[in-house]
């Protein structure tokens, strides 16, 4: 394989470069959302207005329902919009357009519609933003037929998964991890697509299988390091995409380790961890598993006060303790 030159960039910059590459490649790709012409709330579209012009970098009114629905309409005539929701929580203002329209038009119209949209929804806890700006409801969308659900945690994956999303004819929902915008990684000059449904293995081991995604990945990595020091070898995975998800990889791992821990930042009750546990238990049979557990947030809104917020978060220590309790 030829040597590929890579550059170190932040996750936000990786995403920016990925979208930029695709917008250069395909003139039907464009972006719409509040403040995108000035580079987006997070700088994820910096310089786009200058390069692509106001027709392809559309700063919109505060009209989430129409941002979402207009994105769909524009897809139905053959363009490929990137719908920027600014902060995940605001998608609640656009749920009819996402759930009843985008996710269903292709099916409902018997294949006539091609809702090739990408919806970017920066999510998760972030610097004491309280209950209305901290939610993680990615699990909901795994339960919604018609959409692909992507939750990257690294600069590399943000870039490669965005490229896949933009090229996909399916509606792809991307949960950008707000808390990891500044995480750095190396990306190639030409960003290659990363296929949906393939987990990234973070570490290998045979004591326990640890599954996570999004904002918890760095904490899982820290936990693995601490556990390794204590001689506990963990088979850890960043799922990267939740629908489809890499069932085969996780089942194969649990088959070896006999122990499964799924941890996510979202509320534990009704979270995607339940789906993973249920599938693994179903495929391997309970008798072939020693332990299958989840670690998520308690079922409560996110509080503002720093110590309260910290308390309800999943932390590295909590992951370590949970794993140790399973051995």
């Amino acid at each position: 394989m030829a040597q590929v030159t890579t550059t170190e960039v932040t996750l936000i910059e990786a995403g920016r470069l990925a979208v930029q590459q695709e917008m250069r490649r395909d003139p039907t790709v464009w972006v719409l959302g509040e403040d995108v012409a000035r580079g987006g709330l997070w700088g994820q579209y910096k310089g786009f207005l200058e390069e692509f012009g106001a027709e392809r970098v559309v700063s919109t009114p505060i009209s989430e329902a129409t941002i979402m629905g207009a994105g769909l309409g524009a897809a139905l005539v053959g363009t490929r919009p990137i719908i920027e929701m600014r902060i995940f929580d605001f998608v609640m203002c656009a749920m009819d357009e996402l759930v009843n329209q985008i996710a269903k038009v292709r099916y409902m119209f018997g294949g006539q519609a091609k809702p090739a949209v990408v919806v970017r929804m920066p999510h998760g806890m972030w610097r004491n933003s309280a209950a209305q700006h901290s939610q993680m409801l990615e699990a909901w969308f795994t339960h919604l037929p018609g959409v692909v659900v992507v939750a990257p945690s690294s600069a590399e994956d943000e870039a490669g998964l965005l490229v896949s999303a933009i090229r996909s004819d399916d509606p792809v929902l991307i949960f950008d991890p707000k808390d990891l915008w500044g995480a750095t990684g190396r990306i190639a000059e030409k960003i290659e697509p990363i296929p949906f449904g393939k987990a990234r293995q973070l570490s290998t081991g045979d004591a326990v299988t640890l599954v996570t995604w999004s904002a918890l990945v760095p904490k899982a990595v820290e936990a693995v390091a601490l556990l390794t020091k204590d001689g506990v070898m963990v088979d850890a995975f960043d799922l990267r995409t939740l629908w489809p998800w890499d069932e085969d990889a996780i089942v194969a791992s649990v088959k070896r380790t006999g122990r499964l821990l799924v941890t996510h930042e979202a509320v534990e009750v009704g979270g995607f961890g339940g789906e993973i546990v249920a599938r693994v238990v179903d495929r391997l049979g309970p008798q072939n598993i020693k332990s299958a557990k989840r670690l998520g947030a308690p079922r409560l809104p996110i509080p503002f006060s720093p110590p309260l917020e910290t308390q309800v978060r999943v932390t590295t220590d909590k992951i370590v303790a949970k794993v140790k309790g399973m051995l």
Binding site: S63, T66, L72, G73, L76, R106, M108, G110, G146
Partner: protein, 335 residues
């Protein structure tokens, strides 16, 4: 049916009037046939028919090209037929059969035919508005001179997307014609009893979208108005608004006998039937009853044929339930 653009003056053009007439009669025949089939238990699920409102659909679509797009609401049969959709494939869809325009997956409430620019009925009131403005934005971006017509009822002007979508279209000067098909009711509620202020057009104007209010039962008048509005929209003047007053003869759905309605009101409305009205106008121009009968007979034959085909058609193959969900991560079918 006319699908080519035409500068103006429908009222003076006999051929055009006959086209409008034929479209209305075909819509009427389609819906009466579908209602009968529904009553006979052949069509599952509820139907939302537009008997009495045909003047709007026919008048609006006469100025549209095939590549113009249209978004509809839950009451979309007339819009689809006027836009050029094939009644056979539509009827198959209402029956839920193989070959239906949506493969049997949508039914009446999701009737759609993308091949003629009909981007779909919608089960959510106001649901088509954001889609329409986005389609217009996409077309503009693609440098197409096709336009979008967005049809909705008087009930839809009380949902948020109305404000958002009209503001949006005005802001980006998008090629959209908004059409409020005002039949006076929203489901089982008199629309005026839940709508404050001076009405649809005033709301549109306050959002930067100009337009006109007309009698939607006067099909040539609708055609005239739309001809002018479409010329503006296609010419780049931005969105326009048509507030068309009409009346729905029937209940909300095919299962609503509409006992709640004032019978006198319905009787009065029937006197203002858009088809009868155009017959009168055509009569003054020398077209007479036998001519009308020919159109009616042809239309009824066309729809009877559609019904017969639908009734005889096979159900969709079971595996099609699993098709067209999504490319990646779709559920697999196992026999």
């Amino acid at each position: 049916m006319a699908t080519r653009p035409r500068p103006s003056g429908a009222g003076d053009n006999l051929k055009r009037l006959l086209e409008l007439y034929r479209t209305m009669v075909r819509i009427r025949a389609f819906e009466e046939t579908a209602l009968a089939a529904h009553k006979a238990g052949e069509i599952p699920g509820p139907l939302h028919v537009s008997l009495g409102q045909e003047g709007v659909a026919a008048g609006v679509c006469a100025s549209l090209r095939k590549d113009d797009r249209l978004t509809s609401n839950h009451r979309g049969h007339g819009h689809a037929i006027a836009k050029g959709a094939d009644p056979v494939r539509m009827m198959l869809e209402l029956y839920g059969r193989e070959g239906g325009s949506c493969g049997g997956k949508g039914g009446s409430m999701h009737i759609a035919d993308f091949s003629v620019g009909m981007l779909g009925a919608n089960g959510v009131v106001s649901g088509g508005i954001p889609i329409a403005v986005g389609a217009a934005q996409g077309l503009k971006m693609l440098k197409s001179d096709a336009i979008v017509v967005c049809m909705f009822g008087d009930g839809a002007i009380n949902r948020g997307p109305f404000l958002e979508g009209l503001n949006w279209a005005a802001l980006y000067k998008l090629p959209v014609l908004f059409v409020c098909e005002d039949n006076g009711v929203a489901a089982f509620t008199t629309a005026s009893s839940v709508t404050a202020g001076p009405g649809a057009l005033a709301r549109a104007e306050s959002l930067g979208v100009a337009g006109v209010t007309i009698d939607g039962n006067d099909c040539p008048a609708v055609d005239d108005a739309v001809t002018r509005l479409v010329a503006k929209v296609r010419g780049g003047s931005g969105p326009q608004f048509l507030h068309a007053k009409t009346y729905r003869w029937t209940g909300h759905t095919s299962t609503d006998a509409a006992a709640w309605r004032d019978p006198k009101e319905v009787a009065d409305a029937k006197v203002r039937c858009p088809i009868a009205r155009l017959e009168k106008l055509l009569g003054d121009r020398g077209v007479d009853a036998p001519d009308f009968a020919v159109v009616a007979t042809q239309a009824q034959a066309e729809m009877d044929d559609a019904r017969a085909k639908a009734k005889a058609a096979p159900w969709p193959k079971p595996e099609t339930a699993y098709a067209d969900v999504q490319d990646v991560g779709a559920a697999a079918w196992h026999k």
